[in-house]
């Protein structure tokens, strides 16, 4: 298992950057185009959540990204410096009464495109999400 860590700004550019990193890491590990796109989308949605809802575009707050690579899986852990929230208290975006809501689908989509999804409070404040995608 090889690990690297980086820090990203709370900006829309960082959302694109995180997605590009995810797609590139997935490509290097051997994922096909669909797998790369799925992992890229999962990371993008979690990053949007961190920047928009967690750090609220506050430039003083960062998103902490840890990448773990093994020969058959890729894991990204993204932590924001926001106030945290209860994942289970979010409205179900698939409930009939919520289908026409404009927002609230991001984390569900992220979860749908990976093999492992764990959302928990981040040590020191904020929220941390770990995404794992297996090669096979």
């Amino acid at each position: 298992m090889e690990k690297t860590q980086t820090t990203l700004e709370s900006s829309l550019e960082s959302v694109d950057q995180a997605e590009a990193i995810a797609v590139d890491e997935a490509r290097k590990l051997g994922f096909d185009e669909d797998g790369q796109a799925q992992f890229g989308m999962a990371v993008r949605e979690v990053m949007v959540n961190a920047v928009v809802h967690g750090n609220r575009y506050n430039q003083k707050k960062k998103v902490h990204l840890e990448i773990e690579r093994s020969k058959d899986s890729l894991a990204f852990t993204l932590g924001d410096e926001g106030e945290g929230f209860d994942f289970n208290s979010l409205p179900d975006p698939l409930a009939p009464e919520n289908l026409l809501r404009q927002s609230g689908r991001g984390l569900m989509l992220a979860r749908a495109f990976v093999d492992g999804f764990d959302l928990h409070p981040r040590a020191g404040g904020g929220t941390e999400v770990r995404l794992v995608k297996n090669l096979h």
Binding site: L12, V15, D34, V48, L99, L100, R101, G106, L109
Partner: protein, 114 residues
């Protein structure tokens, strides 16, 4: 690349050709503005052609839903054509296939407004 949007008339149906990425920021905003502008001008039959859209994120999906609601509330209809497998998967996962009427063929889609 963000999204590129153009509109054209096929009979009384306004076809919006989208190309690129409909994502949080410029892409989703441009899509929202285009739908609202067309709806405000009285266009009630809108067909969004997604054949050249490579990527839609949850913000883009949100704008599509918002556009659907705007047009429907004004007595119009908004339908989709040319969905890639990835976009179809998104509509399946989000259950929005139950909301949007989607077509593979533009001529079929245009006829469905009659």
């Amino acid at each position: 690349m963000s999204v590129k949007l153009t509109s054209r008339q096929v009979g009384d149906v306004t076809v919006i050709d989208a190309a690129g990425r409909i994502t949080l920021g410029e892409g989703a905003s441009a899509f929202r503005d285009m739908i609202r502008d067309l709806a405000a001008k009285g266009n009630k039959k809108l067909l969004v052609n997604l054949a050249d859209v490579s990527y839609i994120d949850s913000s883009g999906i949100g704008e599509m839903v918002s556009g659907f609601t705007t047009v429907t509330n004004q007595g119009g209809k908004l339908k989709l054509v040319g969905l890639s497998k990835r976009v179809k998967d998104l509509l399946q996962i989000t259950k929005l296939y139950t909301v949007f009427e989607a077509f593979d063929d533009e001529a079929d889609a245009v006829r469905s407004f009659a």
